[in-house]
Subunit: 473 residues, 2 copies
């Protein structure tokens, strides 16, 4: 733990965020500008995310592969929209083994073209479909301004790439993976998300449709926290991928891709944390319990070992702070790190057969009889997980504004954050105008209840849909 | 499975190896020359290796981190020997976001300098030591000639980097990790290894000492299958890393690094496989059992589900081949893929209450009473694991030659492989001569029984040690 003080969240949200990232030992900066070091505590959060998602991907029939990290320039150029979208923010290797390369190599910003290049070789018949692949890897995007987890030149992520015999199947896959992301964020990260479709303007380069889960951070700013793309046959045609169907005719398959990244850690921080430091939902926290002995008496030590033995046997992770620091320092450290529960064990409480537990979400202190310790831990972990989700949901909903006029929208745009839920005619001209004049970007057209019979908030023509607008990371 | 025929191992070992890699669906080539695609079956072997090693690393107190993948040229140059060793085979990013970079960035060939750059910031006092870090990542070395798993421009690996308050502790760590590698290769990969120290000539660039585990492939050629380096204070001094010791004095810490890579998959293949395809030790095989119904009768189907239920409940992985291919094709496929056991279930054997099991290591057929299936699977998996190790050990030992004269050594050098175990004076001139004249490289000075009172096999002067020489991948 760092001894400096965390900036107050309501004073300077951006600085508060960076302070949490650094003081909770999640990341550090390095001599490689624009990239970050993910420190052990931050990486342990990512390892938990990977373990849970990887299990879900495998349960739904996906297998992991590893593609090259470099893309020859000519390969990137095969799909026109795609190269236009990614080339401007690519990093290029031009020298290898002290020789200039004949062809520059792009460090993968995403791997659609590498997968298609491979799929062309291995897909021959309907028997090879569906092909359900996933890759865990690092990608590179040459961002000008960077922020830990949110925008970095190097990003750890997963990218699923699948091929299907029919359009229906591919569309189902696109939404199936979106649902896995939604459930993961809701059930593990305790982050409420809006599930929807991106407008044509905001789609992934080369996709026919991009679906997204949009989260709202504490300050009302949007975080696109996972996307799933339906490609139709676009890439497959560009790469000449064909399969023999059951009638022995050549057909072009249908494609999807989907991904989430370490950006989710940024989302976790900006959804739950507070002025005392990081707050982590128990289900994703690398360490669930901090155990802090107040004094090293025999009695204290014996209760400490009793508790750690029980936690070990139930596989509940903990950190026993037996350093020579003061109790006050240890409490503050446990708060900065966001351990969901801290247990303070001192002789005075033990005289009453009690210990003190502090839940990190509310910082509420609870006296617990030593016979009820394990039961209370169990209840508190569940309660904290639930409370974090509900608290985030209430806050988010309080910042979703149903607006009807352009004036209302421009008023709202002056706030730091919040989502406007409005009628839209579907015309990109209105979307552009709202972005340029008000700095609000379309978030998504929600999958549920998006039909509208009102008038477009921008041009006043008949609306075709409801849509969310907001500022974004 | 590919329908082409695997080249015979004794006819063309190199082609046989490549055939196994491709026909067993382990790797594929891509438009990115010199890199490989690790296909799902190959990647599943790597996932098993990662899971086992990661558990061992964590048990011994190590935590995972993630450093940037790029190294600014100036940072790479801080340690002189290191940059000389790695710069010639580096890939360089010179353009980012369509702009020439002010400083070229090396794609990490290994991460010592990135770790040191970070350690300088986070190590302050003896309380911060030991620092036991590990990283799973991809590294890049711009090789001219490449072979799947053995020599590739991109390598998946882990690299441990640790810092210690004392020399003794750092030296202990270096050997502790070497032992973890040795045990892993012996107990899981069934690969016998010689544990030893590299000569000064063959050390890692920047290390004071490099320890290695040397495996011998079926053809007698050596594969360096893992290394552990003791750096002393060299990097720490170059980077100005200091800590306050318990007496409140500034001291320079002692450093180690250690790594293994996907190269181990190459080692697995070249140690155990045969003319019928891949052979995998059960403990590392992603799929332990192939179940092949010979006919789809009710009786066959009912036994098949009985077996798969039991395998599921015991978490034994299997592949049920219910495709419409012929039994002969399915048998061949199971052999190419190296599933340790295949179970053939047909009506004729079932009439005698039997199924046929074939163990992949010997291709021996065994009739098994249906009541004994699970027990036999258990026994066979253990027996195959043991047999593969013993078989490899016998073959390796038969190709280790205790030689005394330079003539004997030059005779041996004409063979495809084998290790010479000889006396050496310790002079690099002799080592160079043996390499240049005979094409044999020093493998290692074995940790056990390496003292010698004989004469150097090259110059005839008093020897200081025993040493292994051999050809290498």
């Amino acid at each position: 733990m760092n001894n400096e003080k965390i900036t107050k969240r309501d004073v300077d949200f951006a600085q508060w965020y960076t302070d949490i990232c650094r003081f909770a030992d999640l990341v550090d900066y390095s001599s490689m500008k624009g990239s970050m070091i993910i420190r052990p505590y931050g990486y342990a959060i990512w390892e938990n995310m990977v373990a849970i998602l990887d299990r879900e991907f495998k349960k739904s029939g996906h297998v992991n592969v590893q593609m090259p990290m470099f893309i020859p320039e000519s390969l990137l150029q095969v799909e026109k929209d795609h190269v236009e979208g990614f080339a401007p923010e690519a990093a290029w290797v031009t020298r290898g083994g002290s020789k200039e390369l004949d062809e520059p190599l792009c460090v993968r910003p995403t791997s659609e073209v590498l997968f298609c290049d491979h799929f062309k070789k291995i897909i021959k018949s309907y028997r090879d479909l569906p092909l359900l692949y996933n890759q865990w890897c690092t990608i590179v995007r040459w961002e000008r301004t960077t922020r830990p987890f949110l925008r970095s030149r190097e990003i750890l992520w997963q990218e699923g790439h699948t091929m299907h015999a029919t359009e229906d199947e591919a569309r189902e896959e696109t939404l199936r993976m979106l649902k896995i992301y939604e459930d993961f964020q809701k059930n593990y990260l305790a982050i409420p998300v809006i599930v929807g479709r991106k407008t044509d303007k905001e789609k992934f380069a080369g996709a026919l449709e991009t679906y997204t889960i949009e989260a709202m951070m504490y300050n009302g700013v949007a975080l696109q926290n996972g996307t799933s793309h339906y490609f139709g046959q676009g890439f497959a045609e560009a790469f000449g991928i064909k399969f023999l169907n059951q009638k022995n005719e050549l057909e072009t398959p249908y494609q999807t891709s989907w991904g989430v990244s370490t950006r989710m850690i940024g989302g976790l921080i900006m959804t739950h944390s507070d002025d005392a430091g990081l707050v982590l939902p128990p289900k994703i926290a690398p360490i669930k319990i901090a155990i802090i002995p107040i004094k090293n008496t025999d009695e204290v030590n014996s209760i400490v070992s009793e508790i750690t033995d029980k936690l070990d046997s139930e596989c509940i992770t903990y950190y026993l702070d037996d350093t020579d620091k003061s109790p006050g320092f240890k409490f503050a450290n446990a708060e900065v790190k966001g351990y969901p529960i801290r247990i303070e064990i001192g002789p005075r409480d033990l005289a009453n057969n009690e210990v003190v537990m502090v839940r990190r979400d509310t910082l509420e202190k609870i006296k617990v009889n030593i016979d009820d310790i394990m039961k209370t831990i169990d209840e508190l972990l569940k309660s904290i997980q639930d409370n974090l989700y509900k608290r985030a949901l209430v806050r988010r909903d309080s910042m979703i504004y149903n607006l009807n006029t352009y004036d209302e929208l421009s008023e709202m745009a002056k706030k730091e954050g919040g989502f406007a839920y409005v009628n839209w005619c579907g015309d990109v001209a209105c979307e552009d105008k709202i972005k340029e004049e008000l700095g609000l970007k379309s978030r998504c057209i929600p999958l549920s209840e998006h039909r509208s019979d009102g008038k477009c908030i921008c041009c006043g023509k008949d609306a075709v849909t409801k849509i969310y607008f907001g500022k974004q990371y």
